[in-house]
Amino acid sequence: MTQPHIDTPATPHWRPLSRSRASAATQGAVGAETDEITDAAIEAKEISLWYGSAQAIGDITLKIERHRVTALIGPSGCGKSTFLRCMNRMNDLIPSVRMTGELFLDDQNILDQSVDPVELRRVVGMVFQKPNPFPKSVYDNVAFGARINGYKGNYDELVQHALERAALWDEVKDKLHTSGLALSGGQQQRLCIARALAVNPQVILMDEPCSALDPIATQRIEDLMRELAEDYTIVVVTHNMQQAARVSDRTAFMLAREDRVGRLVEYGLTEQIFTAPRDQRTEAYITGRFG
């Protein structure tokens, strides 16, 4: 597997996706270059969500392409996390939440009553803003997901494989039985990714996965995201425009106006969003004029 080279965070200006795009293309991905999404892993149709009586997001409709990285950007409070959490129904855990619309995973509307959110979360994994390893050994952190899934195979292999996929194996192979909390922040976040991979999901949601990390650790996670996109569909929320430009294939820009309801303003290829935004609010945001 070729390591796609990613711009370092130290690069003074964001650069459109040239390198990563090229590498994705050489691996036979088609479609990312065009505006058309033919193979959608997730399709949201008019998703609205209320916390109690306050609407947080309104009428979000978009497709998320399979085995690509999709970035959600927008100013704080515009509902990025809320929308992300719709996709694995984590919002169900908040008692007052109400939703309308349809959200298809493959061909199944996951908001349907008949869908078991527990099962859904095994297909749609999630990585949080603050690394949240369990206060247990590295090994147990990774094995937990498989255990609850009733995995019957070889756990040592599974743990090693997940840690390798999360580019963490070399660093922790000698301390598998020390606490996950003893790792550095960046290692913890990769442990959380390994933990999610061990459940064998199809989609991985990441809510500002690097915001608590230093630039080096951030870059490692970004590299990892590009690698993982070969096998997983990744949706990442980020406040870091360069990051969105570096890692994502498509970018969705969300915005909440005075009514404080977050809506989708513009969605398209990352390159297009960053070089030729069609909406002037998008342009204002990515050039740092507000938000």
């Binding site: 949240n132 369990f134 997901g145 999610a196």
Partner: protein, 299 residues
């Protein structure tokens, strides 16, 4: 601060140096006054400890632990009350802890947040404040009389289990609430069911806190007297308990008995028994503190 007025320095109406120094002296003296207040209770505790030890230490020999109660103070001992206390406490823990922890888990992790949950929580807060003798009346009417258990170990344990239930629930709730929400979310986001998240991640983290609460509740039950007297446990026991249907007595009941005897000689017995009880209660408290501190560090 009425003495301080917003006027130019040097004004005559500014308070005099003498007044200011009086206020400062008063404030400095108050430190000692308040310290005395804080220390006085401890002083009382020290006197209590000294008094009981000087009265009772002489009775603490092997015979005192191996003898049954007796009409003669110097032949009486704690054998049946220690055995009774052991039985009752063990049974109380076995009955109360699973239900208390279960209730706490249900409230914190499973119960839908509605009026019914509010009722349950209010009810627990209220139950925690119900005097122990009321639990005794409950035990007497329901377990001893209605269910026909008599003043048995079982009836006593059921009574104490109900009594320590609310405080154990509240302590366990507290411990579960302290678990960082990232752990819960992390587990659920992996596709754990509620119970898998609780069992696999939340309970292990909450366990030290729960254990601490349970131990403190046991300490409370170990010193409980009124409700057990109420259910009729105030009897002369001169055999070793071997069944939960046996009549029984406990250490605090024995202390009460000896304290209320008119003969001076029994006062030494009461003091000696108090030393034993306090050692037990302090040991429980010490263990609870150690558990709490030790595991907090590893969090």
């Amino acid at each position: 601060m009425t003495a301080v007025r917003p006027e130019a320095p040097g004004s005559d109406r500014y308070q005099g140096a003498r007044e200011r120094s009086r206020r400062n002296t008063l404030s400095a003296a108050s430190r000692w006054f308040f310290l005395t207040a804080a220390a006085l209770a401890l002083l009382v505790l020290a006197v209590l400890a000294y008094d009981t030890i000087s009265q009772g230490a002489g009775r603490l020999n092997l015979q005192f632990f191996t003898s049954y109660p007796s009409r003669f103070a110097d032949q009486a001992g704690l054998r049946s009350s220690l055995i009774g206390s052991g039985w009752v406490l063990a049974l109380t823990v076995v009955m109360a802890v699973p239900i208390a922890v279960g209730t706490a888990i249900w409230i914190e992790e499973f119960a839908p947040d509605n009026w019914f949950l509010t009722v349950i929580k209010l009810n627990l807060a209220n139950l925690a404040g119900v005097p122990s003798i009321i639990y005794g009346v409950l035990g007497l009417a329901v377990f001893v009389r209605f269910a026909g258990m008599g003043p048995s170990i079982l009836a006593g344990s059921l009574t104490l289990a109900l009594m320590i239930l609310p405080m154990t629930v509240i302590a366990a709730q507290e411990a579960i609430r302290q678990v960082p929400s990232g752990i819960r979310d992390g587990a659920l986001a992996l596709g754990a069911t509620r119970w898998q998240a609780v069992r696999g991640q939340i309970l292990p983290v909450a366990l030290p806190g729960i254990v601490t609460g349970v131990i403190l509740a046991i300490a409370r039950a170990a010193g409980e007297t009124a409700s057990l007297i109420m259910i009729g446990a105030f009897t002369f026991i001169a055999f070793d308990n071997s069944r939960i249907t046996d009549d029984f007595t406990t250490l605090p009941i024995q202390i009460y008995n000896w304290t209320t005897r008119p003969q001076e000689a029994f006062r030494a017995n009461a003091a000696a028994a108090i030393i034993v009880l306090m050692v037990i209660v302090l040991a429980f408290n010490l263990i609870a503190t150690i558990v709490r501190n030790r595991f907090r560090r590893f969090r």
